[in-house]
Symmetry: C2
Amino acid sequence: MSGAEVVATYRVDSYLPLEQAAEVIAGEQSTGTFVAVARETPELRDRFAARVVAIEPTTSTADLPDAALAGADLPDAALAGADLPEAALAGADLPEAAVAGADLPGAIRPAGARRRSGLVRIAFGLDNFGPSLPNLLAAVAGNLFELRQLAGIRLLDLSLPDAFAERYPGPQYGITGTRRLLDRPDGVLLGTIVKPSIGLPPEELRILVRELAEAGIDFIKDDELMGNPPHSPLADRVRVVTEELDKVAARTGRRPMYAFNITDDLDRMAANHDLVHAAGGTCVMACINLIGLAGLAWLRERCALPIHAHRAMTGVFTRAPQLGIDFVAWSKLARLAGADHLHTNGLSNKFYETDDEVLRSIAAVREPLLGGYETLPVLSSGQTPGLAPETYRRTATTDLLVLAGGGIHGHPDGPAAGVTAMRAAWQSTTSGRTLTETAQQNPALQQALETFGPPGADGGGGRG
Amino acid sequence: MSGAEVVATYRVDSYLPLEQAAEVIAGEQSTGTFVAVARETPELRDRFAARVVAIEPTTSTADLPDAALAGADLPDAALAGADLPEAALAGADLPEAAVAGADLPGAIRPAGARRRSGLVRIAFGLDNFGPSLPNLLAAVAGNLFELRQLAGIRLLDLSLPDAFAERYPGPQYGITGTRRLLDRPDGVLLGTIVKPSIGLPPEELRILVRELAEAGIDFIKDDELMGNPPHSPLADRVRVVTEELDKVAARTGRRPMYAFNITDDLDRMAANHDLVHAAGGTCVMACINLIGLAGLAWLRERCALPIHAHRAMTGVFTRAPQLGIDFVAWSKLARLAGADHLHTNGLSNKFYETDDEVLRSIAAVREPLLGGYETLPVLSSGQTPGLAPETYRRTATTDLLVLAGGGIHGHPDGPAAGVTAMRAAWQSTTSGRTLTETAQQNPALQQALETFGPPGADGGGGRG
């Protein structure tokens, strides 16, 4: 094999020697079939066969420090030999997810064989598929999940050659462009989700948006469940929302960004985008697993606005620890395909991920990809003002879009007070004051802390 | 809630009472958030909240007879009360996959709580999202996989209202149209995959196709790993293949169908389709998980040929027994979106699925959907002549496309002999003769049975 390569990193469990399991993956995903066939010459195999470049055994899945993989591009040096750099396996906390990996069904288990686990890196010649996301997936994430030789198989990370950067323009706005549109050059960006998720009539949405915008929110989004249903057509939402935002902008000089959920069958989605754009909207949201990464790349080609990428359904391929595609690998593909904003969950979220896993996702999204692909991490689910100090301490950045749904709408004094409390919490945190101090002068924050929990109560490491 | 509904059936594991777990799913996927919010009125909830319509506990995941779910539409009667019909839970074989379900990470486990497992059916008002596949997925397969209240969550089946039939035309050719294009009105359709999977130069492909076509094969397809790479551009493959098929058709009157893999970024995929169509090709193949179901529906809108739907990457959401989307549910969406042919695996395949699971998938594809959506099941992976009797006995149909890759290319006398052996095996089987009898007059079959195994050797129930 010569020329540019894609390197895929997998976590593999098998009752076969890891070397053998790795060769099965490489064979299935390139030149192999289950019997020798005519025309499969040594020259053909030399040129096109995927190549196992590294195997790093761990004694069991439970010993594998997930957090150590951290989403960084693999250094070239790591690919030269069979040894992974020691640093990648040192001293990370053990995430909950790594513990539970039962054998996948159908795994071949020779009598007396013991279970082996490890990291396997496989190089695929770019010439096998070219710089195409769907064709790349066929190789690195196609039939291999079904192999009986594997008792566990998870794609952790991908290292991609520059040819992908030539094909995919990626985020059109990213962090910089989003800040510019919002006229918010620094500080955390604060947002919310329209609640109730579905069923709110457009004229009530109008009132809610007015209230949130006047309270100084940066960003509002449709719930992922709200598409273009008969009871609240997108066209009606676009009309009332843009009217209200225009009015607020005229009064205050600030225009929050509203991410309209344009998710739908693709031609309809494109029409939805055009509707939002024509009305002066400044953001569209797409559920990128539901339209597919190819659908996202297609949207990017005809999109004039930032794409707020919702990750609904990610859990179906991330939550089983012994199977799937890790957020780190998936997020790279989403960024290539054009995600300007990408959901990562937030600390102490209501879903299954630990804080360590969330932080790993945020770090992955912030890591430069092929020298660019600037994407804004979106922290959401269970976010409240009390989480600001821990979030800031552990991410060390304000290049975040923090979305509070219930944490704003559930404020006892209503959504506007919810926005005030969130803003106060983050301003307090980034200027080095404690929330307790700030709350003494800020009743909205005081009440939020009483309602949703004080700093540290639920923010000091989450469920872990 | 009034009007048309979607009913989703889930297998749920939880340490909470199943009623509570079911309500969490219904809430998360419709009107709920983690705190009470303003404007979430009782009227709004009445109209838009998803509704738990049935809960059927099983004592543990291991007791759940997967095979009993069989992919049939739920009878209306089953939705009226909380009881599932007894027949749905009676006496099926226990599939391997049902046994291994470990808890998903992050599951809430109150002290002393025991694990509950069961089937849960939830009805969603169609008005929540309209007849749109991406928006439907947001509701029935969105964030719910990440819920901590669940230790296991798998979408098993979907019952869809007629509005989906109005929006999605589905298969354009199906079984009937494919048989017409092939001039093969009855009998099993026999096909193969080009091997080696990648790397074969176009001029060698030409020779291979000629040989297969002259031997009377019905169908040839590109490997899913073969897209439009520099070493064998699609345009070159289309040229040599259609030239050869034209020549064979002129000589023999029969023109095999060749499924060119057009999988790529969507605009390129559409251009690939146009290229195939303009050259007189009669089938296109798409890896439908890699372009997304929305990408498939989009292709269907602009496609003039049968769509051969490859299922690469399905394992990422099917193989973990405690998580995911079952083939039965997924195949309905694929058929709505336009799959004319759909891969199901075959008996004794080289992948993880048991024969029972494969048979369930074949049955699901053959079951009428909304009164139509005729899709041809495609049996592949490890298929050989010796499997014909068991496949026919257990499927009781010849409306199958059976693909043998290694089982044809690996024949000691070459691919043409491989085709002859496969054809003889199926003709023998459907006319009630044993393979042993037939092989006495058919050396190609005799040699295939000696090479790949005699009838029953590997075909009497697979790995189970």
